[in-house]
Amino acid sequence: MVDKIRLEGVSYSYERESVLKNINLRLQPSRFYGIVGPNGAGKSTLLKLMDAYLKPQQGIVFLNDRSLATYSLSDLAREIAMVPQHSHYFPFTVEEMVLLGRTPFYTRLGKPSEADLEIAKEVMEVTGIRHLAHRLVSDLSGGERQRATLARAFAQRTGVLLLDEPTTHLDLEYQINTCRLLKDRVEEGVTVVAVLHDLNLVASFCDHVFVLDKGNLITEGVPTKVFTPDLIEEVFHVSIARLHHPVSGRPIIVP
């Protein structure tokens, strides 16, 4: 199978500070990938390299077996959607904001088509914000805004979805909801890559996890295999107990 995204020998540094060192990884379609690691490990940078927001000083990022550098920005916008860690909220209505996700598909002076409006309705339905369509995003609660942001990214209808800490600042219900929504995209064939802090969420939802520490890819694999007490202690400097979920059998990590 052709890799959706592939990084070959990718290194990145801000000024002189090396943030990522010689990263090699491959991402397949229809899989949910988690990226974990302590603060400053290079997780956000890795994500930004995958959508060409940052350009690697060494190595190549491939999308569909073609170097990311050869894509135009507007072509990339039809391939990869990004939910950044920090978003700004302005007095757009929810529907207007979701429709911004369709802007790569119509011309500069054009307007969203019927099909665009239909897609916006659909993703608002899926994310459970259809009833908020005409409310201002700036008036919504944190959880509702996050769903509007997700809906905006879903509206791009891309094969790759990158998310930088999509569950931070959300309560437990919204965290689970967000991950379920992402899982649904995966079922539809999308490659989902999310930076997550909650290892239990990773263990419950991700098919594959990358563990970063100090700019190095320490290990990767199925979360059940990867999250051993030794690894957690080595990377996060905390000792944990590993229990098993009584129903699913997935590991539960308890500090």
């Binding site: 990869i80 990004m82 978003s87 007095p91 757009f92």
Partner: protein
């Protein structure tokens, strides 16, 4: 905008223009203003019965009309420039002067008024040129200083703008202290006024404002996306750096053209876009279109008040824009729905 809305706006503008041209220290009846104007329109002049004095025709055509039109152009221009700066810096406190346009224009104008014009080196007609060059030099300096790691960064830009403006304003004050002659001219210019402006000023400012408006509308869709933040905008296909530079250049050119003919008229470029955003929302195409006519009408009304309120004494229009705009702005803010960037 719907056709009915557009016609209502056009009728409003025409009505305000007619009234503003009629009132003043010499009152000219509305019908006479209408007569004088139609007598100059090709094809319509035959239908007009001329029964006004030559003096009144001169007042309407050479004194009031160019000033009225200039108020529309400058008001619209400053508002659109304000939209561009608030959008590209994602800062509700940004105005057309935030990155040094006004301070640069002031220094340029002061240099002209204190050193060149009294000596007869150039005529008073060259004043807009001095102001324009000053404004562009200041903006260029600020945008160079506002770069971090080769990227334009809103916070550094704003800070650089504050610092450069402070230095330039201090130099203007120094010049005023050291060269007392022509002091009043400089002072009045600094307060901003449309007094005594004629067709040549209109000819200087209009092309820049017109081109600026067209380009602003061209970039409206990108500015909407940019409001989501740089990373999100990038992932939606926007070249963020290019957009920022373009918007700064266009916004500064429009602001510089306005300032160069009118002096520093505060508050319009800050308040009109900000207030409209609370009313019509953040979508830029709508925001720009509404900013043009609201800014234009607002400055025309306030300028008309400035020259009639204490007639025959003329007030600097900046005093009126602040007195009228301030309370209205506070009202909108307190009403509180959809406050910018919350």
């Amino acid at each position: 905008m719907k056709l009915r809305k557009v016609s209502a706006i056009v009728i409003l503008i025409v009505a305000v223009v007619l009234v503003a041209t009629a009132v003043g220290s010499v009152h000219i009846p509305l019908m006479e203003v209408l007569g004088i104007l139609t007598s100059k329109m090709p094809g319509l002049s035959a239908f007009v019965h001329r029964d006004w004095s030559k003096a009144r025709e001169v007042i309407v055509l050479n004194v009031r009309l160019p000033r009225v039109l200039l108020a529309l152009v400058v008001g619209g221009g400053l508002s659109v420039s304000g939209v561009l700066f608030q959008g590209s810096l994602r800062n509700p406190l940004a105005d057309p002067f935030i990155i040094g346009v006004s301070a640069g224009a002031s220094l340029g104008a002061a240099t002209g008024l204190l050193f060149f014009i009294p000596q007869g080196l150039v005529g008073i007609g060259a004043l807009p040129l001095f102001a324009f060059v000053g404004a562009m030099l200041a903006t260029w300096t600020v945008s160079r200083l506002g770069k971090q790691r080769g990227r334009l960064e809103p916070t550094s830009l704003i800070l650089a703008g504050v610092a450069v403006s402070a230095v330039l304003t201090a130099i203007v004050s120094l010049l005023m202290v050291l060269r007392i002659q022509n002091l009043q001219d400089v002072y009045i210019w600094l307060m901003g006024s449309l007094s005594g402006r004629g067709w040549q000023h209109l000819a200087v400012a209009t092309p820049y404002v017109a081109i600026g408006v067209v380009l602003a509308l061209w970039l409206a869709k990108d500015l909407n996306v940019y409001l989501l933040g740089e990373e999100a905008a990038h992932s939606l296909g926007i070249d963020v750096q290019r957009l920022q530079s373009l918007v700064l250049i266009i916004g500064s050119l429009v602001a510089a053209a306005c300032v160069s003919v009118s002096g520093v008229i505060g508050f319009v470029g800050l308040m009109v876009p900000h207030a409209l955003r609370l009313i019509v929302g953040a979508e830029h195409r709508r925001l720009i279109l509404h900013s043009i006519w609201v800014g234009a009408v607002f400055l025309l009304v306030t300028d008309t008040l400035a020259r009639t309120a204490l007639s025959p004494t003329e007030l600097p229009v900046g005093i009126i824009t602040a007195c009228v705009g301030g309370p209205f702005f506070i009202f909108l803010m307190k009403r509180g729905s959809g406050y910018y960037g919350r």
